[in-house]
Amino acid sequence: MTVGLTHFLVVSTLLFSMGLYAIITRKNAVMVLMGIELVLNSANINFVAFSRFGNFGYSGHLVALFVIVLAAAEAAIALAIVLNIYKNMSTVNVDEIDNLRE
């Protein structure tokens, strides 16, 4: 069996699940960010794989490109926010930041 679409999708699915796992379980906000990056990467693999094996032309590539760009913007902003949170609350553990509860 040669490597085809399914293989790539399986890889991306696993990557996605791991990213999700990291988002849910890790306390540190930066780790949550890493989980998000993993999820975005898995989505990108899907886009490119469908672009390669599907009938979408190069749109998948472009969407992946856009996702990468947005990921960069997102990482920058999120890290700025994390830094700010650290400055204000001197912790970056997500479970301790529950001011929204009230």
Binding site: T13, S17, M18, Y21, M34, N41, F53, L62, A76
Partner: protein, 164 residues
Amino acid sequence: MIMNYYDLIFYLFAAVTLLSALMVVTNRNIVHSAFYLLFTFFGVAGLYVLLAADFIAIVQLIVYVGGILILLLFGVMLTNKITNVEIKTGTINLVPAVIGVGLFAGALLAAVVNAPWKINNTEQAFPTTKILGTLLIQEYLLIFELLGIVLLIALIGAASIARK
């Protein structure tokens, strides 16, 4: 030959990606996680190359390895009191996460493997840069410009948030 080089390389990269991703999510040391992320990104870039997406692969390297990873590392190093190499982070929701994500991954895998994909296995033109560039300033021009604006706003926003 049972397995050609393409498959071999694919399995290699998939293994690198998945193993290092596993290390990322399970390692208790944040800095280790961040460094393992490098190998994940690298593996994903390799997968892109295997999918004949050379431009995306290199953009992945530039943006993720050259940008986001460094940012994350800076983030880690700036938000912890670095006195020792060991920066541990705790975990929460461990049990529900394992169960939930396990079920979710299982369901997704089943769906992905059993789905009747319509596969169009024709070769695509390989140097994709020119094609992507043309598409980018024709059909996707608006999105391209919007992204530029988004990036600018993100830049300004990040700077202003971090300075506050």
